[in-house]
Structures are given as structure tokens and as C-alpha cells.
């Protein structure tokens, strides 16, 4: 049996080819959608890679500057430009030149790094303090800023619009400093976000969230970490000191508890009540109840926050008394070790004592300032004002900063800052 038409033009083949083309087009659409997602991810990753590459160039350049006397720097006579230098899996271009200054040694460094198609342009003005005995203070960043990736590096010996921009930034910084310093001095008296906004003269979007999350004090404290800090300075390595945790540091807002908060012993209860209420209202964004439930939720959360603050305030005195107990134990440990002739333990205890005392003083001071009351009486720490500690007082801020840096490294998440 034969099936034939009058016009026999190979229609089936054309149809098949057309459908295959359609199929290919569909596949292209799917592939494009998938690759768009991948491209976004790769772009984020490339941006971070470019940032890291730029940082590497900065570190390398600073190390190179410090490796030779200032008078022998390689860009002594003219700016030095490097272009398209391969580094790791990207490339960078850099510009380095001396910034004329009557008394300070200033360097302008621009790095344009390129990694996986992402470009980052970073600008530093660095002061070199090569006669400082403190390694970390041998360079000081005067200005760091990002520039648009399309910005080109200046030509050596030519006009340098970026330096003009940095100068403008420094001038703006200087002119804004008095008003900002006034704001900073007012800041301790502005306990809540709306107070800060009012002082700044800005209007917040509402309802603004102003929730302080007191640091969790439930993590046990490992007091050996104090000794880890000073271990490098003690040849034999110090023995561990066992001391109780003084508990969490307090919140910084004034206490106030109400009956409403007592109805909700924990935030999950508030959440459940809220969700149930919303469910009862039919989850209608236009429903009359929704706004009211949101208001109720806001009130409940705020009251719970106040209750939490009250709890933390109540815990504060206890925290301080336990902290003082730790100080006592460390002081006793130092005395006993001295009597026993154990120099390593004695030194370890004394250094731990110094650090612990500093932190306690900082916490109590911050707490007092936040509540608008006078700072704690220095006599509180009188038993520890011995000859060893007095020189430390003179460099209190430096010590505290160094300690905080160390602490953040040790704890990883900064949670350790909640503890003594």
C-alpha cells in the first residue's frame, strides 16, 4: 500500500528539522538560565579574589619599603608604575610614589588588581615611621579608599588626579572633625537608636528595630587562654590556673521591666503567640487585625528586651563580685608561687592578673558611662596597684587594644569578650 500526495516535497524531514531546532533552542534557554546563576556566583568569588590580591600587593610593597633605609627606596626619584604583573591567579598594576611632606615620610600606593574578570582599585596613603621600635607602628595608613574600577593609574611624572582626590578627602576629614568629635562626646548620653537619629537630625524608617543582644555568658571560660598569651615570654611554659567564670558582661541600657514581659518568659513564646494571632487573622495583609498584631508583637518584644536588660543589670553586680574573686585568686596564685620560688607561675599569674584587671576596669567604666553614672571608684582596684601594675596604667589604652586583638583571635567569634 502506498500513501502519496500530489505535492511531495519531503515535508516530514522539514518538520523533524524544525523540531530539532526548537529543541536546541529550548536547551539553549535552560543552559543560559543555569549559566547565569553560575556567573553570579563566580563574579562574587572573583571580586573577593581581586580584593585579596590587592591586599597581598599592599603587604608586599610595605614590606619592601621597610626592608631598606628610606633614602634607598626604589621610588626615591620618581613614581614607579608596574603593569599587568602576574600574581597567583590574577594580575595587578601598581603605582607608588613619595608624597612631598616637610617632616613625615609619606607614600602614595595605588593597586589595581584583576582576578577572573573582576577589577578592584585600592588606594592607600601610608606614613612610614621606620624608626619606631614597635613593628606594627612602622607604617600608618593615613587614607585607605576604593576608587572606581575604571580609574586608570597615573603616568609617572604626569598629573595625578588620585592624589588630589586623597588630599581633598583629608581636607574634608579635617573640616568635619570638630562636629564629629562633638557628636562622639554626646554619644554616651544617647542610649537608644532613636536618640542617635534625633541627634543626627535624620528620620528613621519605622518601625525601626532597636534591640540589644547581650552577649551570651553561658560559654565556659578557659582561663588557660590568659596564660597562652604570655606563654611566649616564659621559657618553661606556665602551668594552668583554674579560676571560676565571673559570668556575662552586662547590657548597656537602663533596666525596666513590666508585667507584659512576664507573660512571655522567652522570645519563642512571643513568637508563637504572634504566629497564632496572625493565623487567626487569616494572614491577610489588608486585614484589620494584622497591623494590631504587629503592634502587639513590637510591644511584647520591646518589653522582653527590657526584662532581659533588667536581668543583665541584676547580674552585673554578681558578675563584678565574681570577677573580683578571680582577681583575688590570681593574686594569691602569684604570691604563693613567689613564696615557692616558682618564677614561671608567678609571672604568668601576674600577667593574667594585669589583663583581667584591665578588662574589668573597661567593662565597669563602659557600663557606668552608658548609665550616666560616675565611673567606679579606682579604690576598687587598690589592692592590685602594686609596683608591677603601675607602669601598665600609663599605657592602659594600648594594652586594652592589644588584648582585645588577641582576644578576638583566640575566640574566633568574639564571644570571649563577654567573659573575664
Amino acid at each position: 500500500m502506498r500513501f502519496s500526495t500530489a505535492a511531495r516535497g519531503g515535508n516530514a524531514l522539514v518538520i523533524v528539522l524544525g523540531l530539532v531546532l526548537l529543541l536546541a533552542a529550548e536547551m539553549c534557554i535552560v543552559t543560559t538560565q543555569s549559566s547565569g546563576s553560575s556567573r553570579q556566583t563566580m563574579r562574587s568569588r572573583a571580586h573577593l579574589a581581586a580584593l585579596r590580591l590587592g591586599d597581598s600587593v599592599f603587604s608586599t610593597t610595605v614590606a619592601r619599603i621597610l626592608s631598606k633605609p628610606w633614602s634607598e627606596r626604589w621610588f626615591l626619584n620618581a613614581a614607579v608604575v608596574e603593569t599587568d604583573v602576574p600574581l597567583n591567579e590574577g594580575t595587578y598594576s601598581s603605582f607608588v610614589e613619595t608624597v612631598p611632606h616637610p617632616s613625615r615620610k609619606m607614600v602614595e600606593l595605588y593597586v589595581k588588581s584583576l582576578a577572573d574578570g573582576a577589577t578592584v582599585f585600592m588606594v592607600w596613603r601610608v606614613e612610614v615611621v621606620d624608626d619606631s621600635l614597635e613593628m606594627r607602628a612602622q607604617t600608618r595608613v593615613e587614607v585607605f579608599t576604593h576608587m572606581p574600577a575604571s580609574t586608570g593609574l597615573p603616568a609617572p611624572g604626569g598629573a595625578n588626579p588620585i592624589r588630589a582626590e586623597v588630599d581633598r578627602l583629608i581636607a574634608a576629614r579635617a573640616s568635619h572633625e570638630p562636629s564629629l568629635d562633638r557628636f562622639v562626646s554626646d554619644l554616651p548620653g544617647l542610649p537608644k537608636l532613636p536618640d542617635v537619629a534625633r541627634r543626627l537630625g535624620i528620620t528613621l524608617q519605622t518601625p525601626a528595630l532597636d534591640r540589644s543582644s547581650p552577649l551570651d555568658g553561658s560559654t565556659p571560660v578557659e582561663h588557660a587562654t590568659y596564660l597562652d598569651l604570655v606563654r611566649s615570654g616564659i621559657p618553661s611554659g606556665p602551668p594552668p590556673v583554674s579560676a571560676p567564670s565571673p559570668g556575662p558582661s552586662p547590657g548597656v541600657f537602663p533596666p525596666e521591666a513590666t508585667a507584659l514581659a512576664a507573660q512571655f518568659p522567652n522570645p519563642q513564646d512571643i513568637q508563637r503567640a504572634f504566629t497564632a494571632a496572625l493565623g487567626a487573622s487569616g494572614m491577610d495583609p489588608n486585614g484589620p487585625d494584622a497591623a494590631r498584631y504587629y503592634d502587639q508583637l513590637d510591644i511584647a518584644l520591646k518589653e522582653k528586651e527590657k526584662a532581659d536588660q533588667a536581668d543583665y543589670t541584676a547580674a552585673f553586680d554578681d558578675s563584678v563580685s565574681r570577677a573580683l574573686k578571680v582577681l583575688d585568686e590570681l593574686a594569691d596564685g602569684a604570691d604563693n608561687a613567689e613564696k615557692a620560688g616558682d618564677t614561671a607561675t608567678m609571672e604568668a599569674c601576674r600577667k593574667a592578673l594585669e589583663l583581667a584587671k584591665d578588662y574589668l576596669a573597661a567593662v565597669t567604666d563602659a557600663y557606668a558611662r552608658s548609665r550616666g553614672v560616675p565611673p567606679p571608684d579606682p579604690a576598687t582596684f587598690a589592692p592590685y596597684q602594686d609596683a608591677t601594675l603601675q607602669p601598665i596604667e600609663a599605657h592602659y589604652d594600648t594594652l586594652l587594644l592589644g588584648y582585645a586583638n588577641w582576644w578576638s583571635q583566640q575566640s574566633g567569634l568574639g564571644q570571649g569578650a563577654a567573659h573575664l
Binding site: L23, S132, T145, L187, I202
Partner: protein, 176 residues
């Protein structure tokens, strides 16, 4: 010799039609499956991608700043105030997103970034940066290091991002 007909036989047509139906069926199934997967993933992906970009913007603003003014060191707050690179104020805070909260059934927030020159407060700019925030907290680890903990909520799932950023214009006096 009889001239051979150029027409297709019915069997050829039927077989070709069957093959076409199978191919179209497979292709349609594949396409629908791909579209379904993409539609399921894209909102979450867009949210994460958009958030990463916005977060980078926040982190870059902090990176270019001089120091963190609030939270006080060692404390955690839902907002931060930093001294900008030109001694201006950068304030990041959260406000409730009622529409997103209603949709999700839990309170969700939006992060706003305010840049304010204290000498010209009327020129302050305020931008919406990140939405669908379940929790966003800022902890000052040192006067120049801010830790950011962000929980995003989307389609019943929570995505967490944790990072620290250092103020690179911080003036540290380390001489002893």
C-alpha cells in the same frame, strides 16, 4: 522502468510521527523539569546574590571608615555607627518589613544605610540595602573591627553569613 514514487509510505509517516512524539515528550519533560528547578532555586539564589552584593557594600563602607563608634567594644547591637573616611557618620539600622513579615509569618527586617555629614545634616542619604533579614547583629571586637552576623530567611529556610571587617583608616597608637 516504472518511475519510483517520491511519496512516503504510511509506515514511514507513522514511525516518524512516533519518534517525533517521543522526542517532543522528552524535550518538554526536560524543559518543564528545568524550569521547575530554576524557579524553585532562583528566588533564594537571587536573595543570596543580592544580599552578598549589598553586604559587600556595607563591609566596604566599614572598611573605608576610621573607627566604630557603636556598639561599644565587646557589645552586640542591631545597628552600628561608624566614623566614615571623611569624618562623616555612617549609620546602619533595621526597620521592620511588614509585607515580608506577613508573607513569612515571622518578623523580618530591612537594613538601611544612612550617610550623614554632620555639617550638612539635611543632605543625609538613606538607602535600603538588604531585605528578608531574620537576624542581623553587629559586634565590636576592637575599636576597628566589626563582626557582622546575618541570618536571611527565604522560603522557610535560613541562610547565615558571618564575617568580620576591619576599619583600614583606623589610627592605632601602638608606641609603648
Amino acid at each position: 522502468v516504472t518511475k519510483r514514487s517520491k511519496a512516503f509510505t504510511l509506515v514511514e509517516i507513522v514511525i516518524a510521527g512516533a519518534i517525533l512524539i517521543i522526542i517532543i515528550g522528552l524535550a518538554t519533560g526536560l524543559l518543564l523539569s528545568a524550569r521547575g528547578s530554576t524557579q524553585a532555586i532562583m528566588p533564594a539564589f537571587d536573595l543570596q546574590t543580592g544580599t552578598r552584593k549589598a553586604l559587600l557594600e556595607v563591609l566596604q563602607a566599614v572598611q573605608e571608615s576610621i573607627d566604630v563608634l557603636r556598639p561599644p567594644m565587646g557589645c552586640t547591637l542591631s545597628y552600628f555607627v561608624v566614623r566614615g573616611k571623611a569624618n562623616q557618620i555612617l549609620l546602619a539600622y533595621q526597620a521592620q518589613d511588614s509585607a515580608a513579615s506577613l508573607k513569612a509569618g515571622i518578623p523580618l527586617y530591612v537594613l538601611y544605610l544612612v550617610e550623614c555629614d554632620l555639617d550638612a545634616p539635611d543632605q543625609a542619604t538613606q538607602r535600603r540595602l538588604i531585605g528578608n533579614i531574620k537576624r542581623l547583629s553587629f559586634t565590636t571586637i576592637t575599636p576597628g573591627v566589626l563582626q557582622v552576623h546575618l541570618d536571611l530567611f527565604e522560603e522557610g529556610r535560613t541562610y547565615s553569613l558571618l564575617t568580620s571587617v576591619r576599619c583600614r583608616n583606623l589610627h592605632v597608637e601602638t608606641s609603648l
